[in-house]
């Protein structure tokens, strides 16, 4: 009898299914969200290895099993009431419930989780899953779990989730019947039952998340694993039905070329542990897309930028503030200032920020500037011109952008506070040596998001672990780059480097000539159109 004995029915087990994107972000986001409730994997719960019909699975599996000691789970969570339904997208941002939240309310804060089920059975095959489920009531946790579903008034249904394989209705019903031994007294109800059970037939996925072909010589390959359990949160797919669309860029009144995609900023604010009452700061606020997400999570938001045009937006209806207004949030405080001079603009006696979250300017879509002029001799501004004078700015090298960002963070974050930033990376990037450092900050996570074959970006999360000593500022700044400022160059000027790299590829010249020709044709077309309308 195949019996996955590691998933004990004496414990409370939860199977998490992730969406198949942002793979490197999934665990860090989950760990961060759990820590908002003071839950640590390894200390308060354990991760159980997934059952598997193949000894080594090379591809990513978007599942994770968390196992809780039953008494801990009963103390910590409200296990009885899972009427918590993710009714609106705003539920993702609800206040942290410190008193007995449901597991769904804890986990649904994770952008990347598709669903979570109370695990009743699991195994490397269909039969072993059924067998394991049969043992449910033999464990102290399982027994109570089952009892909770035995009410006559609780309607239910079983949904079958098979990846990549279609089964006809008869086959599906056969699968359902295998679990009939539970003898649930309530009636089967297809629409909005009290309890929805999920039977998952996991198969191996390719790197893009597409199921590998399941048929070989007309035989259906066996599944990788099979799971059965009760859906938590009342909804099978937490990400479905356009639940994230509400915050998508398409809906916002003010966008710019640097606006962060909504999903990534949702993840970043989780990695930063933004919650109600968090004091959040974005030193390169731009159009405010990341700050907006902080606001949605209940944070008090402050943003600075050197560029007044971006801060003021295009009009009264299209600016950073209008985005906040659109979502009925308190307005953020914005300041036009230069992060390179932060230590001079702001009195810094006590650290104030809980989270600093930002997408620093790298010269890809918006070049970085700082105060000052590249001219040798600085001319004094005549008194009568001073009021309207638009100060010059000069190029702000990436190595300094990052050095200043880390130094400001080290100084202004509270102990344990987090800095979350994005850094573009080409493939030749050594996480150990090419990331900026600061004595007062420790790296908590680095997550890579591939964008093209050559280019991706990394989200880096740092924690403040040591108090800042202002007298050591110069020393801190000089040790930011282990390999010297050349490391910073790896992030800088990526557009130019991409072009260089592209030029080296075969067929580049033909493609360039082709594109040029097309542009010419388009220009001529437009000319003709205009001539017509005159």
């Amino acid at each position: 009898m195949e019996h996955h004995s590691e998933i004990s029915h004496n414990r409370y087990n939860v199977l998490i299914e992730f969406a198949h994107i942002h793979l490197e972000f999934q665990r860090p986001e989950l760990e961060s969200v759990l820590s908002l409730h003071d839950i640590a994997i390894g200390r308060d719960c354990i991760e159980v290895p997934l059952p598997s019909s193949i000894p080594t699975v090379e591809n990513y599996r978007p599942f994770l099993i968390l196992s809780f000691d039953y008494h801990y789970a009963k103390e910590k969570f409200n296990l009885d009431d899972d009427g918590y339904v993710i009714q609106s997208d705003m539920s993702r941002f609800s206040k942290i419930d410190r008193t007995k939240p449901t597991i769904a309310s804890v986990l649904s804060r994770c952008t990347l989780i598709r669903s979570a089920i109370e695990l009743w059975g699991a195994g490397p095959s269909f039969d072993s899953c059924v067998e394991h489920a049969r043992q449910l009531s033999s464990g102290c946790a399982g027994r109570i779990t089952l009892e909770n579903c035995m009410k006559l008034s609780s309607s239910w249904k079983i949904t079958i989730h098979t990846l990549g394989t279609k089964f006809n209705r008869e086959e599906q019903n056969d699968m359902r019947m295998k679990f009939a031994f539970f003898n649930l007294p309530g009636k089967v109800q297809m629409v909005n039952p009290t309890n929805e059970f999920l039977l998952i037939r996991e198969v191996e996925l390719d790197p893009k998340g597409t199921p590998l072909s399941q048929e070989r010589d007309n035989f259906l390959s066996p599944p990788l694993a099979v799971y059965y359990g009760r859906v938590l949160g009342g909804i099978r797919d937490w990400r479905g039905n356009g639940r994230l669309d509400q915050f998508s860029l398409k809906k916002r009144s003010y966008l710019g070329p640097t606006s962060m995609d909504a999903e990534l900023s949702l993840i970043m604010t989780n990695l930063g542990l933004v919650r109600n009452g968090s004091f959040c700061f974005d030193p390169f606020v731009g159009t405010g897309s990341i700050l907006l997400t902080c606001g949605l999570r209940g944070g008090y938001c402050v943003g600075t930028d050197i560029d007044i045009r971006v801060l003021r937006g295009r009009s009264d209806e299209e600016n950073v503030l209008s985005n906040f207004k659109q979502f009925r949030l308190n307005r953020p405080d914005l300041i036009r200032s230069d992060n390179a001079l932060y230590h001079r603009h702001y009195r810094m006696n006590k650290p104030i920020y809980d989270v600093i979250v930002t997408d620093p300017p790298y010269g890809i879509r918006a070049g970085a500037r700082k105060s000052g002029t590249k001219e040798e001799k600085i001319r004094a501004i005549p008194e009568d011109r001073r009021h309207d004078h638009i100060a010059q700015t000069k190029v702000y090298p990436v190595s300094d952008v990052m050095g200043d960002l880390l130094d400001v963070s080290a100084r202004t974050l509270v102990m344990g506070g987090r800095l979350v930033y994005i850094i573009p990376s080409m493939r030749d990037f050594d996480v150990e040596k090419d990331l900026p450092n600061h004595e007062c900050l420790e790296i908590a996570h680095v997550c890579y998001q591939p964008l093209q074959t050559e280019l991706g970006r990394r989200v880096v999360v740092m924690k403040k672990v040591k108090e800042y000593d202002p007298s050591l500022r110069e020393s801190y700044l000089s040790s930011v780059w282990i390999n010297g400022p050349e490391s910073a160059e790896k992030c800088a000027n990526i557009r130019e480097r991409l072009l260089e790299a592209a030029k080296l590829k075969p067929g580049y010249e033909e493609k360039a000539a082709y594109r040029k020709k097309r542009r010419q044709i388009t220009r001529e077309e437009k000319k003709k159109q205009r001539a017509k309308h005159v």
Binding site: N276, G277, F279, Y300, V302, I306, I308, L311, R312, L321, N330, R331, D333, L334, I335, R336, S337, D338, L341, R344, H345, Y346, R347, M348, N349, K350, P351, I352, S371, G372, T373, I378, R379, A380, I381, R386, H389, A391, Q392
Partner: protein, 148 residues
Amino acid sequence: MRLLTHNYLQSNVKGTEKGYPLTIEPTKIEYEESPIDMEFVENILTKIDYSALLSARNQIEDRCHSDLGSDFIVPSLPEVMPKRYSDGNSKDDKIEEDETNQEAFLKSIHTILFDIHVLEGHLVCPDTGRRFNIKMGIPNMILHEDEI
């Protein structure tokens, strides 16, 4: 610009000795009520410069009267912050503060720090008189080339 933000701004022109706190000269003020988070307010109190807050409050009072109507009263603040907040050791405080007084104090602080917005005006350096303007609620702290 909220008074909380003002509490942190200073003038940084080259050669400035004491560019803090900046004097507020408001020409347009707005009031926007927001929900109070008591814990957040208590937390913030340990980080602000109270005397700077007091003077800021006094500086905006007249403009509040003209812009927000005679019904609006800017809450008054005690000369000295209640001890339990200034030390940051609110737990082991032997002075028995009246609960209602405490709550009233926190509410006043909340209104003054968060709900009053200076939309237009100037921030003036107490040392050099250098003026930083505020437009659309955004203070402009950018220095000219010869001030860096």
